[in-house]
Amino acid sequence: MYTQYIYVNENINPKDGPGESGLFNRIAVLRAERGVTRQQLADALQVNYQTIGFLERGDYSPSLKLAFGLSEFFGLPVEAIFSRKPFQPLSEQVYGGRSRRDHAS
């Protein structure tokens, strides 16, 4: 289970490369957050579940149609899902760079 967790988050780690596509994405995080399996997402987008794996690893660059399909599915703008630069972790984006002590006060 633990290795799978690491694997799912691989593409949002700024230290990692963006994969063959040259794009970073948050598909794995969004999917995990909403409790959607790859198969369910694949069925909704009418693609093979393997393609979702390729997208998550950044090994496949989606067409505009598929990117907008993902955007509609997650209810987020495309730029919240794909980026040419590494994403900041969501927690950092929401709470900024504040330390634990700041939150406590």
Binding site: Q4, V47, N48, Y60
Partner: protein, 199 residues
Amino acid sequence: MRAELMLMGRRWDMAPQTHRRTLVVLIYAALALAMTGLWLVDRWRVTGVYMIFATILINRTLLGGYNFGGLIKPFSGKAPNRGVDPPPFLVLGLRLYRPEPEENAYRNDERESQQRDHAHYNAYQGLTLGLVLVWLLADWQANAPKLLGWLPGGPAVYLYGLTLAVVVVSQTLPQAILLWTEPDMEEPDLVEMGMAGLS
């Protein structure tokens, strides 16, 4: 691409890349053996056409790409016409994989279509070389027969053999490239487990 091969009533796991590569090597070894064997029988005079039949059978049962069976979905991305149902021998005798007539089982998504086109491009590069050899042999046979005079049995039989080999390879190479290059396929069950671990 399908992750398992249904043959002789058994499911063969083809998700690991090594399994698919082994299959490709075995298929081409068998084809090479058949070519050599048929050359020994009658230098392909009558038996050459059997190579075409063998290729069609291999595509229908193992490789796919053109019809209902095999690992690769039809390149056309469409379900085969049910009007041309396979002979009962193929379905009952070999107990092949034969999905229901719904488009999803046959449709290639955009990544698969891209892979398909890339495989055809790569196959085209190799086949061009084969066609150049066919042309060269035909040219020498027609215009400079002395150059090929040393070949036992005459150049015509080699020209026929080379042409036959190019036809066989042209019908199987794109599928073989796809099977060879696709990385290990993830099992849907493992994906579900991963999700369970996250929630």
